[in-house]
Symmetry: C2
Subunit: 232 residues, 2 copies
């Protein structure tokens, strides 16, 4: 499969590297490749400059959002939540139409102080906003409830733990579930919550995730729905 991974941060790099290691053709999308490659300082989260990372991942090409999306069979959104809709607009409606869009972003809002809150929250979600803005795209929200290293290596966390999928298209959710299994997720760990509206619930896990990160002092944890199979 040819994947476009939109976003050059830690999540994008981690997903892109995993996809490439599984034999997929991967292009990372960014607003302006020259600007991205010109950066020589670590980003705000302490990740090394993209050019350094790419030197170790020569099989992964960097391209503008539209170029990346145009050549892809499926798209992964790992941009910061506040920039997701602009990034997808830049990718282009026609370049996205009919494709599966795996949305890993969370609409974190840093304007109300730390830890960040969510915007939208409550009666809307970023997943729904994207689906409404791009009705011909098959949006599947998943993986947004954990640290990126766990996304591609669930064995980092001992015991059973859960990855949620939300989306309106059953076929797209089945394809994404297959991808998750290829990442190392047992099929029994994947919970299909229902339509893209259920992305509200998974995005609203972020506030407690952020507080657990603070309280536990590490990010190698994940939510598990205990008893999910009982009586099901």
């Amino acid at each position: 499969m040819r994947y476009a991974v939109l976003g050059t941060g830690a999540v994008g790099r981690t997903i892109a590297a995993k996809l490439a290691s599984l034999g997929h053709e991967v292009v990372i999308g960014t607003r302006d490749p020259e600007t991205t490659l010109a950066r020589t300082e670590p980003d705000g989260y302490g990740n090394p400059p993209f050019a350094d990372w790419q030197a170790a991942h020569a099989d992964i090409r960097l391209a503008a959002f539209a170029d990346a999306a145009a050549g892809a069979d499926a798209v992964v959104n790992t941009t910061a939540g506040a920039g997701s809709l602009p990034a997808l607009e830049a990718a282009g409606t026609a370049n996205l139409a009919g494709k599966v869009l795996i949305d890993i972003a969370n609409p974190l809002d840093f304007s109300q102080g730390m830890p960040p809150s969510l915007n939208p929250v409550g009666t809307d979600s970023l997943g729904e906003q994207i689906q409404r803005a791009f009705p011909e795209v098959k949006v599947v929200k998943t993986l947004n409830t954990m640290n990126c290293e766990i996304m591609v290596d669930p064995s980092r966390v001992a015991g059973d733990h859960t990855v949620f999928v939300s989306g309106d298209d059953s076929g797209a959710k089945a394809a994404v579930t297959e991808l998750l299994v290829s990442f190392g997720w047992p099929a029994s760990s994947v919970i299909d919550l229902g339509s893209i509206e259920t992305a509200r619930g998974t995005e609203m896990l972020l506030p407690i995730w952020l507080r657990l990160w603070g309280s536990l002092g590490h990010a190698d944890f994940n939510f598990h729905v205990a008893g999910a199979r009982t009586g099901a």
Copy 2:
């Protein structure tokens, strides 16, 4: 200990019965005991009339909110979230002052359709609203992230699963943790998230809880934080 349990619904009944079974003196608080006892129909959730329930729990007295709170060492809020602040106003600032208030309520908002949303949400929580309205009360938010039968019998759910506590008073959180252990919770299952501000995170688990309830078709599940101890 003498407990006042505010609220006559399924959560209040379940908590009250458990406390009484552990030898505590329990009074259930309601707005108007005569009205509550006069009901002969099941409530909106299908629970039998309170009078029927009380006939099987003769050791548990029903009283007006203020009467219940005045005679208690500690108070448990199990009222519907939208009615929690009015119920606590009726209980009376002086009757609550200095006491531990275990807040199990969630601010479910049924005005935006089903499933209910939350109000407040995002940058405030019901737990914080209660703490602000009653600054002399030691509010501990806990148990609000699961079905009431699991609250008092965690063995209903196989495997490890988690109960969160949030609150500004360490002594109150220690006392509540001891109570949780007496309910059957392993101390290792209790995660102290921090101040009452962290109640935002646990209240925001309700949206995914409600969708899991729909998706799984039963309520005998609970959240577990897998990997919580790793590296801690």
